[in-house]
Amino acid sequence: MLEIKDLHATVQGKEILKGVNLTVNPGEVHAIMGPNGSGKSTLSYVLAGRDGYEVTGGRIIYMGEDLTELDPEERAAKGIFLAFQYPVEIPGVPNSTFLNEAVNAVRRYRGEDELDKIQFVKMLRAKTKELNMSDEMLKRAVNVGFSGGEKKRNEVLQMAVLEPKLSILDETDSGLDIDALKIVSEGVNALRSPERSSLVITHYQRLLDYIVPDKVHVLAQGRIQKTGGKELALELEKNGYADFTGEEAA
């Protein structure tokens, strides 16, 4: 599914990723944990293709294809989805319009017929119901006036609607209370299948109680420092990241 080889990336001239190696097979969920400033969010932006995040070395092979030259919208159409840590508010654009545009853009790109209004609404209703979201949230402008939990739920709704092959969840647990965390996790788990993979980026172990990973990686100082099973997350929770940063534990 995803093979990252010796990935180097810079942001505003500063090297943040210094040789990341990572392989995610179809159906797997990988967690990437690490201290603040370790390059977790940079990795997610680089994978999604954000401008200003420059790959200076190495390769990102997704479904057998090198991604590094593709625009973000092309990557989305090929099935990559990034759930944002801080979802963006877009005043004046109704959430349902935004979702409709996204779905049809992706379908156009894939050479599929666009969904008409009725088909789209039917599909959307079913998804919102699963995620315990109100129709009212669809009418409101994208993320405007949403609580932290609603914003994250909206990210998961977008994910559910776009049905990505590779989902990258960037600190999806931040700012969530336990109920919201459960709902969001259920949404993510509902998408788990032998064909889909996820990269769950998180600072804390808590989210991994709900989204149980196949593998856990520690990202620090721009490199994967350690890889293990789900028990590694518990270990990190206990000992902190000090072993990987060269700093004293707090």
């Binding site: 401008d51 625009d71 963006v88 877009i90 004046g92 996204a102």
Partner: protein, 447 residues
């Protein structure tokens, strides 16, 4: 008389140019013209030395010689004129001449007068004398003096006491389609009597090739308890110079709402002087501008909150691309005894190119001590995080940009209280955007 190099034949020539001017036989009107010519002669064209013209120079007038309109310049075939749809009446002018064949005022309700100014001068000169010049307060505006001097027939909208117009009336002003550069000077008059209500939609469109200079003046009297909504779309051509001077007076408990959507014209300036001179008067004076290429758009306004308990709100937002330039100069003046005034002013501009420029000058001048007033201005670029957010959902870059531009202008357009007009204007915004991949219909349906 000073030389007027931008006009063939000067101010005199305009009057003798083989055309009949409205109200030629009326002594008071002749006096007004003469005084206008005298004033313009003394003032001359505005220069950047004047504070109010620091950022806008009427450059096309430097190197073009315009011919005042004469018979025939309005005869060109025009079709596909813009409209908001179901209207109570419609007047179409081409190069400043009324086109009866394209106009329809046959179904106006009782108590509504909507027609060309020359007709009013012929049928009801006493009423015209009483109202023309009655709202204008200052005589230091050169472009208004020029309009006085050259005054052509614009339109008249007169709604009698208590009459409520349920449908809008519509004006279409078409420019271009001439071999020579032409100039015209429409004079418009709007009188909404006490407790009457009306909505006016004005479309200014440029067609084909041909430079033109339109210098309009409009007086608006919104009497006590009346509601008047004034909506304008300025989609002039890239060879157009559009200058519009507006004077409005808003009476007790009356509402004057204005929205100016500027989306085309080589050089345009709308200058408004609004006086809230009755308690409870409200003015919503808003607009949006979208300019590209070398277009220059100036919105200048002076709102005088002259008596206690008045309110005004001003929201102007714009998008500038290429080397386009916009000017926003807004001043709210609160008179010494105008307590409890509530005045708000906001100007925001999105710069899509490094060469685009906005000069913004929001001002409050407050002499009362118990008021609530605020003003603000910002300019910036498209939010790159928002752009990435949309693109990461598969939305192509051009479409994502358009969505963000619409999102940005949306809250200015939200100030339009007439829902239908708001939709029509949003549709115009959508079609101005560079990639027409975004369908207006879809936007509306899901909103």
């Amino acid at each position: 008389m000073t030389a007027v190099s931008f006009l063939e034949g000067g101010l005199e020539g305009g009057l003798q140019g083989g055309r009949s001017l409205p109200g030629d036989g009326l002594e008071w009107l002749k006096n007004r013209r003469d005084k206008g010519a005298e004033r313009f002669g003394a003032l001359g064209l505005p220069t950047p030395k004047l504070e109010g013209w620091k950022y806008t120079r009427l450059r096309p007038l430097d190197d073009t010689r315009y011919t005042p309109i004469k018979d025939g310049v309005g005869d060109a075939a025009v079709k596909d004129l813009p409209t908001v749809g179901d209207v109570a009446g419609r007047l179409v002018f081409v190069n400043g001449r009324l086109r009866e064949d394209l106009s329809d005022v046959s179904n106006l309700p009782d108590g509504v007068r909507f027609g060309p100014l020359d007709e009013l001068l012929e049928n009801d000169p006493a009423w015209a004398e009483e109202h023309i010049g009655s709202v204008v307060q200052n005589d230091d505006q050169a472009m208004l003096a020029l309009n006085d001097a050259m005054m052509d027939s614009g339109f008249v909208l007169h709604v009698r006491k208590g009459v409520v117009l349920t449908k809008p009336v519509e004006i279409v002003m078409v420019g271009g389609l001439t071999d020579d550069a032409v100039a015209y000077f429409p004079r418009n008059l709007i009188v909404i009597e006490p407790n009457a209500q009306a909505t006016l939609v004005k479309h200014h469109v440029g067609r084909g090739v041909g430079a033109y200079f339109a210098n309009a003046a409009t007086e608006i009297d919104v009497a006590d308890g009346a509601i008047f909504k004034n909506y304008k779309v300025q989609a002039e051509s890239m060879q157009a110079t559009h200058v519009s001077t507006v004077h409005a007076r808003v009476g007790r408990d009356a509402t004057f709402e204005s929205f100016n959507l500027s989306m085309g014209g080589l050089l345009s300036r709308t200058e408004a002087v609004i006086t809230l001179n009755g308690m409870g008067a409200h003015c919503g004076f808003n607009g949006a501008y979208m300019m590209r290429g070398n277009e220059h758009c100036d919105n200048t306004s002076y709102i005088d909150m002259a008596v206690p308990n008045t309110t005004c709100k001003q929201v102007y937002k714009g998008v500038l691309d290429d080397a386009a330039r916009a000017v926003f100069q807004g001043k709210i003046h609160v008179a010494r005894d105008a307590q409890k005034a509530d005045g708000r002013m906001l100007n925001k501009t999105l710069l899509l190119s490094d060469d685009a420029e906005i000069d913004t000058k929001p001002e409050l001048e407050i002499y009362a001590d118990d008021v609530q007033c605020a003003h603000g201005a910002t300019s910036g670029q498209l939010d790159q995080t928002a752009l990435f957010y949309l693109r990461s959902r598969g939305i192509p870059e051009a479409l994502a940009r358009n969505m963000l531009v619409q999102s940005f202008l949306g809250d200015a357009l939200d100030e339009i209280t007439d829902e239908h007009v708001r939709e029509v204007f949003m549709d115009r915004v959508v079609h101005w955007l560079p990639a027409h991949c975004y369908l207006a219909g879809e936007w509306k349906e899901s909103a």
